[in-house]
């Protein structure tokens, strides 16, 4: 498959899979305000995923899974609902099963800070679609990061329990942080072409943002080693955790039952 298409899948799958996890919170948040806010974040990411999947399909139609002749399923849905887990290109951070609210906040902070820094650069992409998606996404991710940052501070300085839970959640999230900044060969090539962004170039900026949040919150950043891959292969290579195939089984069940369906 073409580099641009694969690159769009990476950006799309991060958003699609993490949006799924966030949407699992729906009707389960600590209070209505958070239920609304989390749904908002999930919706923004879902919107990004749709545009990016469509761009991927347009860039290289050969990546779109084949469906029966005459199927009305649009490319974005064929990609979302008819790929298996080894074909998903998201980082493993996106697919982790949900933990408690502290885990939600810790993960969202790291995810949105990284994606925001990436999108700020991607807004200058030579690809007009990617540039537009990124420009719109910058506003969205800024809100997501601020929401997570405010709650991070609140939990850090709230109660003994909230602080303990936040610290525990951070260990699991930070183990998967570095994967966000590892340069995949596809990313390297699209960056050279001026179409994409090498995520490694955002690492220092994101680190500075997180350091500030930690400092203001009075939380010491836990030192953790990154989670090993499978013979070096990680999410971007299609090597995932056990959680992703279960997530997809649920996400895809209705769509797959109706390959000729209209929705």
């Amino acid at each position: 498959a073409g580099d641009l298409a694969l690159y769009c899948l990476m950006l799309a799958d991060d958003a699609l899979v993490y949006s799924h996890r966030l949407s699992e919170w729906c009707s389960n948040a600590p209070d209505l305000e958070e239920d609304l806010a989390i749904a908002n974040v999930a919706l923004d990411l879902l919107g990004q995923a749709r545009l990016l999947l469509a761009r991927a399909a347009a860039a290289d139609p050969s990546i779109v899974p084949a469906l029966p002749d005459g199927s009305p399923v649009p490319p974005e849905d064929a990609l979302a609902f008819f790929r298996r887990d080894p074909q998903f290109r998201n980082v493993r951070l996106a697919e982790l099963p949900n933990g408690d609210f502290a885990e939600l906040i810790a993960r969202l902070l790291v995810f949105s800070a990284a994606r925001l820094a990436l999108f700020e650069r991607l807004a200058g992409s030579r690809d007009a679609v990617l540039a537009a998606v990124a420009a719109k996404g910058v506003k969205e991710m800024t809100y997501h990061r601020d929401f997570a940052g405010r709650w991070f501070l609140t939990l850090a300085r709230g109660t003994e329990e909230s602080r303990t839970r936040l610290e525990a959640a951070l260990v699991g999230v930070l183990r998967l942080e570095s994967e966000l900044f590892e340069t995949h060969e596809v990313e390297s090539r699209v960056a050279t072409a001026g179409v994409g962004v090498d995520p490694a170039t955002t690492a220092a900026e994101v680190d500075a943002v997180l350091s500030q949040v930690f400092a203001v919150s009075g939380i010491e950043r836990p030192r953790v080693n990154p989670l090993a891959g499978l013979a070096g292969r990680k999410g971007r290579d299609g090597a995932h955790t056990e959680a992703l195939s279960r997530l997809l089984a649920e996400m895809q069940v209705v769509a797959r039952e109706h390959p000729m369906g209209r929705w």
């Binding site: 699609l16 799924h20 949407s23 699992e24 729906c26 009707s27 389960n28 948040a29 600590p30 209070d31 209505l32 305000e33 958070e34 239920d35 609304l36 749904a39 908002n40 999930a42 919706l43 879902l46 919107g47 995923a49 749709r50 999947l53 009305p72 399923v73 649009p74 974005e76 849905d77 979302a80 609902f81 408690d100 609210f101 501070l153 609140t154 939990l155 300085r157 709230g158 109660t159 329990e161 909230s162 839970r165 649920e250 996400m251 069940v253 209705v254 769509a255 039952e257 109706h258 000729m260 369906g261 209209r262 929705w263």
Partner: protein, 316 residues
């Protein structure tokens, strides 16, 4: 004696406001029975929005297209928003949201019985929009003119969004009807399950309804249950025909004389069983809400503690 006179004057003023179809506002005097009746009604309505998130949220993660997933997620989010407005309206009557939530999860306040039915296929998302939101709108549009100001204003906003949801639901069903045979069967099966429960959403028939008369006198309610039910049936039958589904009622027939549809009698035994807590999902819905509330306790406590610490530092 002075106080008695004052109270009489206040009551007279209250009655005049009601009679002129003007709004009662939070700072106005109002009889305790009116206040309590409103609290019960608004809270029940707010609880319905919040509990009503569950049957639809059940399908967000399984939505069969990304477009439908976005629509559904936004809709359930709107319901949380409606819950928020309504709890706020209720708080103007002097009860806190926490308090109301506790009444819900302890089973002391009710919510619309329709949400005690399960959602069993993606067609249910459409059917809930079409029939359940449709019935809710019939119930709620008159409440935009209800006598209590904050409630009426909340209802105006809510009704607007509900109409939008209803159209989206109907649109999903029409799309599915243009799809495969399996999809058409799903729509019919879903309508079969939801038709009667939707009719029951208007409450028992007028002879059996305890609250109707007083609520109408106070302008909290503006039409009887049976009037609203008839209006809903008359509105819905042509839509069903356009959609191409059969409503599961052999007695449903146009009555030229009345200029309205005749229809069968809902199974009121089932209605009362569900109201009393023995519906297919009552226990599940309340347990879900209780679990979410309990699991969120530490977060709410943290927010409170943090806010208090911020105020302290501001004072300094």
């Amino acid at each position: 004696m002075t106080q008695v006179v004052d109270e009489r004057e206040l009551e007279a003023s209250f009655e005049r406001t009601i009679a002129h179809n003007d709004r009662i506002e939070p700072r106005d005097w109002m009889p305790d029975a009116y206040r309590n009746s409103l609290i019960r009604q608004i809270a029940q309505h707010a609880h319905s929005e919040i509990i009503g998130m569950q049957p639809e949220a059940n399908w967000i993660t399984r939505a069969p297209s990304l477009r439908r997933k976005a629509i559904l997620l936004a809709k359930v989010q709107d319901e949380a928003g409606h819950g928020l407005y309504l709890y706020s309206a209720c708080e103007t009557l002097g009860v806190s949201r926490d308090d109301l939530t506790r009444r819900l999860i302890e089973g002391r306040q009710k919510y619309s019985s329709i949400f005690n039915y399960p959602t069993l296929s993606y067609a249910d998302v459409g059917t809930i929009g079409w029939l359940v939101d449709g019935a809710a709108i019939c119930n709620q549009v008159p409440l935009c003119r209800t006598s209590y100001g904050p409630y009426g204003r909340a209802m105006i906003r809510i009704c607007k969004e509900e109409s939008f949801h209803q159209r989206q639901g109907y649109e999903l069903l029409t799309t599915m009807m243009r799809g495969t045979d399996e999809q058409r069967a799903l729509v019919q099966e879903s309508v079969d399950r939801f038709w009667w429960p939707a009719l029951m959403m208007f409450g028992p028939s007028d002879e059996q309804s305890a609250n109707t008369e007083q609520s109408m006198a106070w302008g909290i309610k503006r039409h009887t249950n049976d009037e609203l039910r008839q209006r809903f049936v008359d509105m819905t039958v042509p839509q069903a025909q356009a959609l191409g589904v059969t409503l599961p009622d052999p007695d449903l027939v146009w009555n030229e004389e009345r200029g309205a549809y005749d229809f069968g009698t809902p199974d009121w035994d089932e209605f009362w069983a569900v109201v009393k807590g023995d519906g297919p999902c009552n226990a599940q819905r309340v347990a879900h809400r209780r679990r979410a509330w309990d699991e969120g306790a530490w977060v709410r406590e943290a927010a409170t503690a943090f806010a208090a610490s911020q105020q302290t530092s501001e004072v300094r």
